[in-house]
Symmetry: C2
Subunit: 238 residues, 2 copies
């Protein structure tokens, strides 16, 4: 497509099998026709956000964009990470969501804490879903991060799968940080809100199997701690 | 001071010795008197941004804030990191600067590349300096990150100290990521602009001793790569 770098993946939530003809949704059509200036006969990569990496060939680039599915590879799921996070200050959640999606986190779970609850979360969730989609496409990943409905911290902890590895970011945490995020299955991290977790919440988490980890020799903001953990996790797992 | 978490450090660029009386600059005075509601006789921590951690006692909180310097500890410099970075897209440099400062990076060096140059850098530098200061205070670090004047990539590479460890973030980098950032002295990372480094620039960097490292098994945006590296660096060095 003439770009110096590979273009972003197309996001096609409905992706039929090889040989099928498809009409691209308007966002994807705009990207192909206007941004990348794709031509008939050229191929583009797409994903369904659930692990599929497809090659499609453009068959029409006027009055919308038509294409034919050439091939689909379904990628094996790698290690998984969930981020449970109290609200940071201001608008910092927006880019936190974007970065977590770039790092390949599977689920972003906002949690309401005693010292901070998510307001207007409904509005933001639509925005976050768009940011997660854009980050997936840009980073050429094939799995769309789930942005969950905010839950109270107790509910969020109760709903975790058995056997998951659990970490709690904590300025005074003692666990070796090199271990944080190393997990063959599902790694979960809990990050307190800007005002921190209360003693009670900390105890609830510890009893639920969360191990405190320190990510820097300094105090990190909520979103920075979440991000630092995710950066380490993605680096240690790929 | 009644806050649940420790308050941010005060930034006092001029910090006289123990026993001295000082008049707080207006920003610091506002923070102490209005935000923290400090009272006469209470102590507050402050830094000069050059490694000093001081305790000061409030002697007046009306018509400005007066204080007496009680003690000063000068912290030993730890491992050092510089981030050389091409321009990311849009306004993403703002929070990149904030996060690098939270992670304890010593110097942020914007570099102009063939595929991206920093515009209106003068205006932004003042803003970035404020963000770096706020991040230092918030994370209770005692060293202020330097925000350098943008340099052409060749100039930036030539001005690096001898003997520094040098890393280049690269989607196809082969070096083990666990090593990235492990350095007893000065670690330097070079991150290309949104459009990437050119082949020529990559060669220049390699000849200057930069080792390509891959930080995730996906493509990361400019600011995300810089951040991922800094998160790993701070985690491995404290």
């Amino acid at each position: 497509m003439g770009a110096e770098a590979a273009p972003a993946l197309l996001y096609l939530p409905v992706l039929p099998g090889p040989g099928s003809s498809i009409e691209l949704p308007s966002d994807a059509a705009h990207y192909v026709a206007r941004v990348c200036r794709g031509r008939v006969g050229e191929t583009v990569e797409a994903t369904d956000g659930q692990g599929a990496r497809a090659v499609i060939r453009l068959t029409r680039v006027r009055e919308g964009v038509g294409a034919e599915v050439v091939s689909i590879v379904r990628e094996v799921p790698g290690p998984r990470a969930w981020v449970l996070c109290g609200p940071p200050e201001g608008e910092r959640a927006d880019w936190l969501v974007e970065k977590l999606a770039e790092f390949g986190v599977e689920r972003f779970q906002p949690v309401d804490c005693e010292r901070g609850s998510w307001n207007r979360a409904g509005v933001r969730r639509a925005r976050w879903a768009r940011l997660a989609e854009a980050a997936m496409r840009q980073s050429r990943r094939t799995r769309l991060m789930t942005v969950s409905v905010p839950l109270a911290i107790e509910q969020a902890l109760e709903s975790l799968p058995e056997g998951s590895d659990r970490w709690l970011t904590d300025e005074s945490g003692g666990a070796p940080i090199a271990e944080a995020g190393r997990s063959s299955g599902l790694a979960v991290v809990l990050v307190g809100p800007a005002g921190g977790l209360t003693e009670r919440e900390r105890n609830v988490a510890t009893q639920a199997g969360f191990t405190p980890v320190r990510l820097a020799r300094a105090r990190l903001r909520t979103e920075t701690a979440a991000l630092a953990w995710a950066a380490r996790w993605t680096g240690s797992t790929g």
